[in-house]
Symmetry: D2
Subunit: 360 residues, 4 copies
Amino acid sequence: MIRVGIVGATGMVGQRYITLLEGHPWFTVTCVAASAQSAGVSYAESVKGRWHMSEPIPKNVGKLKVVDAMNIDEIARSCDFVFSAVEMPDKEKVKQLEESLAAAGLPVISSGSAHRWTEDVPMLLPEINSDHTKMIDAQRKKRGWKKGFIVVKPNCSIQSFLTPIYALQQAGYEVDRLSVVTMQAISGAGYPGVPSLDMVDNIVPFIGGEEEKTETEPLKILSEIKKEKFVLTNNLTITAACNRVPVSDGHTACVSISFKKKKPTKEQIISIWKSFSSVPQKLKLPMAPKQAIIYLEEDNRPQPKKDRGSEHGMAISVGRLRECNLLDFKFVGLSHNTIRGAAGGGILNAELLVKQGYIK
Amino acid sequence: MIRVGIVGATGMVGQRYITLLEGHPWFTVTCVAASAQSAGVSYAESVKGRWHMSEPIPKNVGKLKVVDAMNIDEIARSCDFVFSAVEMPDKEKVKQLEESLAAAGLPVISSGSAHRWTEDVPMLLPEINSDHTKMIDAQRKKRGWKKGFIVVKPNCSIQSFLTPIYALQQAGYEVDRLSVVTMQAISGAGYPGVPSLDMVDNIVPFIGGEEEKTETEPLKILSEIKKEKFVLTNNLTITAACNRVPVSDGHTACVSISFKKKKPTKEQIISIWKSFSSVPQKLKLPMAPKQAIIYLEEDNRPQPKKDRGSEHGMAISVGRLRECNLLDFKFVGLSHNTIRGAAGGGILNAELLVKQGYIK
Amino acid sequence: MIRVGIVGATGMVGQRYITLLEGHPWFTVTCVAASAQSAGVSYAESVKGRWHMSEPIPKNVGKLKVVDAMNIDEIARSCDFVFSAVEMPDKEKVKQLEESLAAAGLPVISSGSAHRWTEDVPMLLPEINSDHTKMIDAQRKKRGWKKGFIVVKPNCSIQSFLTPIYALQQAGYEVDRLSVVTMQAISGAGYPGVPSLDMVDNIVPFIGGEEEKTETEPLKILSEIKKEKFVLTNNLTITAACNRVPVSDGHTACVSISFKKKKPTKEQIISIWKSFSSVPQKLKLPMAPKQAIIYLEEDNRPQPKKDRGSEHGMAISVGRLRECNLLDFKFVGLSHNTIRGAAGGGILNAELLVKQGYIK
Amino acid sequence: MIRVGIVGATGMVGQRYITLLEGHPWFTVTCVAASAQSAGVSYAESVKGRWHMSEPIPKNVGKLKVVDAMNIDEIARSCDFVFSAVEMPDKEKVKQLEESLAAAGLPVISSGSAHRWTEDVPMLLPEINSDHTKMIDAQRKKRGWKKGFIVVKPNCSIQSFLTPIYALQQAGYEVDRLSVVTMQAISGAGYPGVPSLDMVDNIVPFIGGEEEKTETEPLKILSEIKKEKFVLTNNLTITAACNRVPVSDGHTACVSISFKKKKPTKEQIISIWKSFSSVPQKLKLPMAPKQAIIYLEEDNRPQPKKDRGSEHGMAISVGRLRECNLLDFKFVGLSHNTIRGAAGGGILNAELLVKQGYIK
């Protein structure tokens, strides 16, 4: 078993990692790290009264003593790689922490945004850009790291539509314009996060920074690596409006797209989505959804409550494909923001890196 | 005082009419009509256990005996004009009922969709097309009606954005493309309407017929009357995606627009909206919002809970004006669907028709 | 494998039965019956657009042709026993249908209320009165049934507190007074059930018939069988107030109790609950929770979202045990209303009856 | 006009005071005080982005400069009395602040809990104990204050049931036991207050300190003053369980009561409630509800969304009076927690004190 550390283990995403990793065939949690004030007691003790998962704390993890996240040496001794789910507001400090962990020899799989635009750090969505991991070699060389490295996963808001778009690109239909309006779940803001006074009988048409991430991160994910640099060759233009809605888990996206040249039929698009299968599916990664994209025929689907759990929260559900008066087609996409969009996506990244030999 | 009848008085919109008309300076409710099974008892009796307003039933209306809506003669005797808020599923029957009422000499102000595309029936949004009432003359002539006529109001989903768009058109900036995603309140579906199992921890990305209405009704509202016909001269292309969200009242719209030729600056748009004033404001109609369009500077506004009540539910609240990567600008619009979008809009139509001499 | 029929298969409880029975070690669904208008097509077809579970329809069940529930012969041919989850408003008709099925040789495990007070029908809660099944012999004798019989499960509102009370009784502490206020989930009302206009920013302090069931059903469950009759020997007095709250699944109960004579300490009560184990646990029934009663130490537990899923929805979660100024102790109880309180409870009854030899 | 200061003006209760006082016939807001970090700017500036009322900020108040709440002299100069709505966690500091304000000559009407059990401070609920204000004389004498004094209002959780109980006591029916389970709105916790992750598809069966307040505060309110002391002569025993539910405003209470000796009939109770009128009604205080207790005949009322606004949020709504198996009667009570239960109740106290000559 490969020994896993979770840095930022007491937060919402950290808790989701711990829940999802229970019973994992390759990974076992051997280190939980958090801020200094949580450190020194058992993990069970540290999250008492603020455990937010519906599953109980796995017994073996509950007994682990929480390590101070600044104690790099102790973390490096007690695991083979780490998931970083640090929630510090100061992004510079997160960057430094993740770099220190990598410098200490640890592969760092981050779900945070700190290093997303660092020029030698790949932003991985394994169904799309599993080859971007080769940037790790350049990263190690440049920074003088032997074993450690940093990879990140993209923002949760783009998962509901980017894989379906990529599936079409792969099939030869280049998407050039994309308009997306998201309706995002409250778990995306962590705990305590969004006040209930804003979510009872209300929606909030704004999430700080989310539209910018939604409009730009796909460009890096879909980029090509040339001469050890990510080159944003893709001609995709994205506009996004992001809303917070009173849903516990599951981000929904209303999407319109247009194609640059060749335009598929509705039937062709559905067929492409239904038959889409990529590297995680081919490698049979444990966390990979068997069916990466699920197309629902009912008029009123996907819905967060009914569809977020598909394929253990790792599938992208789409539906309502129809013609658009302005662009070419409209559809609705949905994904589980704390599984596919956070911890589950991080685990899938780690599994890919194991198969590729970057994590041993 | 002008005597008012409400046909469909026991439904959600009918109840809202009754609440809003209490204390009206010109109108007094003298007739309440509903389906045969509600008829024959007092209005208070007929809505017992299904009165959904937070205000109590006005005493004078509570005592009125409910008339069978098919009893045209009795309705015609007891009022000077009617608001039609009939909720029958069979649109043909609604059409016939409204025509019978008009034939009996009653002006009919309908909030239903049955006659929206009838070629001689104006679809009124008084801030935009108060001159469309002149079609009433053609309608009377064609149908041989002396006193009666039919006008309708448009669907609630378009109110959150159409007046702001019109304000820009009026100022000389022609909008040619409009992409809108709505997040609509449950009161729009009446009672019992949307099951709570669909609205607790969920949204539904579909409302039957709503996207079609949103995409087409603005064209008739913005049309010109030529030779007694509505001519859809406007070059506006609209695409819409409509969602149901767990909000009691207030439809929110995420809107992107592009301009055909001349493009205003952000500051110009806000200035146009803030200074917009139209016929209802100039005529000082009792139901008219003093400020027709309210622009909110805060990042996270408008919100249904905070803004639906502005100007007694008759204002359009807008915010978050910003550049769009795809079209020219994006913004968020909001209006109260059962006030501005239904009963309040109907009353404003009636007030306009009084001032214009069509209702006496 | 024992062949199972589900009568009322298209409703909410029927769907939950089908989901819970997937992969059951003893039972396989071979017959799905519903009203005449659903009959004749595949089960998947019959629930299209109204499948409310988050799990997909099990493939083998989706292919079954839906039988008309009135076609007793066909049902009797295609299964060994049935779960009755019929939702007809006319209780007399439900009674007759369940009797016809039993007369045709089928054991009938009902989750409905029609036969709960029929004098020869046991109301089973296996942790409490597994011996009440012996009434089946009297029932068969009286009615001349050879193989068939009827048993029922009690109302969902009492599950959150009755097993904890029984555990105390068993330990020698007789509870004589019980005051309970429930906050019940919307799934208890089926689909469409409670309108969302009643559940957004609201609660409803009334559920028709629920308080009466809550106050009386425990008496039959806790009764003794003497001379082939249920004798309500128990001196328990119950008062109940039942509320509907915007929670999808999970009924919560605020309970106060007093003891007739001997009064345990707080520590003793918690210890009794934690160590409680009864017939389903001893028989290791597949659906039985390993831990029947879970006591939570946190101040703010149990909560529906966090605790309804415990032990696959079959555990009773309790917490907040504290002294009561009026009676002796107060606590909060919680159970999953459509699993423990409906389909899961029904399956547990069936498993018990298999072990006891009544179902073969 | 009497000049009013609001200390703690930027919080939820402070905002409600400002909204409710707009257009008040006797009072005009001339001073708004808050913590040092809010001080120095205009009130409109200080609440930018955190104004939670649906009404806009009254213009005259928006322009007032926010005073540091520790600047007692400036507050004392700029108003004739203050409403204290301070939300500091340290109750000792609140006590000192309120005492300093009183020492500076200001009558202090507090909605906080700091001074509720101070032995010379009356806890006023004007319909019940308007005569408790005479303790002000003793308070002034003891503390050497000439003009200033402190009165408090009780906790919001008891308003839904205490006036109905008092009405029965007044009519000669002594209530001796009271069991109450509350379902309380989120606005009671202020902003940000309860996280939305706890209130979407969930309830929380615990509110810190609330059960203790509910069980003890009625005793002081119903007490007699003897020799300048509050003597808790009342034999009322109360047990309470308090729950947080996803409702924006309006606390609901499920109540059971028993009578010591004489027991009224159901009809008598309803008649007593309907005809109840007390000092605020007799004095025609501007904030007083005309109908202090509203009895609703419908089975499913009162409900927060429909009834919290009755009599401008100042009425107590009751319903569902029925026999109780354990005590004598059960009913449901409801009141608006931030109007009747906080700012509105404070204003009513101030109005009473004006009529009694304590505020000039």
